[in-house]
């Protein structure tokens, strides 16, 4: 059997995966012996497979495992969820009760967060410069890779950010999250 370059290219990937029948394999090997172009394609493709197949090609972001574990813990245990639900309900009651108080003294008291799911910060240095997106909900360390809306960023102090109801980014501001 004689195969052309075009036929070789069509089957070259299957050839490397051992997915061609013995007759075709032999014909292709014969072709490679006499064709530098097809040999170059074959070698290049092997290189591609070899390089991308290396586990160094997949880098998980720093802290990935830790954040995953935490998210699982927060969502898996039913006992905890019930307990959390109770805490949320209690907190809501306190908020409703306290809102009259807050309405009267607009300066003091913690502002409501922009996100219902966010946790407020704890011990954030008020003068630290942080980055917020105008319509975002969280504040970040400048350069944090988890800023979603990079188009409308402003740099302000942490005090201003918290006054505006931004919560600390769970990634870059992790150490300031209240437990």
């Amino acid at each position: 059997m004689v195969v052309s370059c075009g036929e070789v290219w069509r089957e070259i990937s299957n050839y490397l995966d051992g997915e061609v029948d013995p007759a075709l394999r032999a014909a292709m090997e014969e072709h490679f012996r006499g064709c530098t172009h097809c040999t170059a394609v074959l070698d290049g493709m092997r290189n591609v497979i070899q390089l991308y197949g290396d586990e160094r090609m997949v880098e998980v972001p720093l802290g990935f495992s830790h954040r995953l574990q935490r998210r699982l813990e927060d969502n898996m245990a039913p006992a905890r969820r019930t307990f959390l639900g109770w805490v949320v309900a209690a907190a809501a009651t306190v908020l409703v009760a306290g809102s009259f108080e807050l309405a009267r003294s607009s300066v003091s008291g913690r502002p409501e967060l922009r996100s219902d799911h966010a946790r407020p910060g704890n011990g954030v240095p008020p003068e630290m410069m942080v980055v917020v997106a105008t319509d975002g909900k969280t504040f970040h360390v400048p350069g944090c890779p988890f800023i979603h809306d990079k188009a409308r960023l402003q740099t302000i102090t942490a005090r201003e950010a918290m006054r505006e109801g931004y919560a600390p980014c769970v990634r870059c501001m992790k150490k300031y999250l209240s437990a």
Binding site: W9, V41, G44, N47, V48, Y52, M57, S65, L72
Partner: protein, 218 residues
């Protein structure tokens, strides 16, 4: 390939996995992280292949793991746990992609007729590229950029097959396409990547590298 990567895990690893799944179903929820830990990278890589953004991929990966936990009773032992987990991840990532990028038109390569023949453009002979070059961040970066320039259907197949080392059948099952489509798309992806990288890896990059000519690493 280290065994803890799981995709190629041996019978012992598989036995341990079945045992873990049984105990989780029986209520030992705390063991779930132990079960999925070997697959963190696979799941993240699968999500990244579709979403192309680390933050989105991380979120989708987390969500997929949670869904796997919630639906662990639906897992059937006829497929590998890793395949099942990757399938959930692919579905999650695709759903997000549809939702958030409904307005974005896929790159032109994606609309190419995959049945059409693809002719290699570059016949430069590559020198063998030693795997040590992967220690260099700029090399990994170039490879990642080339991969991310492929259309989604080629990227998905390539990542699952050549980076996650799924079999052709498993890749087909996870993506919900035929094995013939897997083969066609894989051929196209590999040829395109070779063309994209041949000028750099065969010429510019390797000329700057000093490595001995020797046996091929495979």
């Amino acid at each position: 390939m280290p065994e803890e990567l799981g995709v190629l895990g041996g019978p012992a690893a598989q036995f341990k996995e079945e045992e873990l799944i049984r105990r989780i179903r029986d209520g030992e929820r705390d063991l779930f992280y132990e079960l999925i830990r070997p697959y963190e990278r696979c799941v993240f890589a699968a999500a990244l292949a579709i979403l192309r953004n680390e933050a989105d991929a991380e979120d989708a990966a987390q969500e997929a793991m949670l869904k796997a936990f919630k639906h662990i009773r639906q897992f059937r032992a006829e497929s590998r746990f890793s395949t099942w987990l990757i399938q959930i991840t692919v579905n999650e990532a695709r759903m997000r992609r549809r939702k958030e990028h409904a307005d974005i038109v896929e790159p032109i390569v994606d609309r190419q007729d995959e049945e059409g023949n693809y002719t290699p453009r570059d016949f430069a002979d590559w020198r063998e590229i030693p795997l040590e070059t992967l220690e260099r961040k700029e090399v990994r970066q170039k490879l990642a950029e080339a991969l991310s320039s492929l259309g989604e259907k080629y990227r998905e197949v390539f990542v699952l097959r050549d980076m996650q080392h799924l079999s052709i059948e498993e890749t087909a099952k996870v993506l919900g396409i035929s094995t013939a489509s897997v083969k066609t798309r894989l051929l196209r992806a590999r040829l395109m990547l070779r063309d994209l990288l041949a000028p750099g890896l065969g010429g510019d990059w390797s000329s700057k590298l000093s490595f001995a000519k020797g046996a091929k690493p495979w």
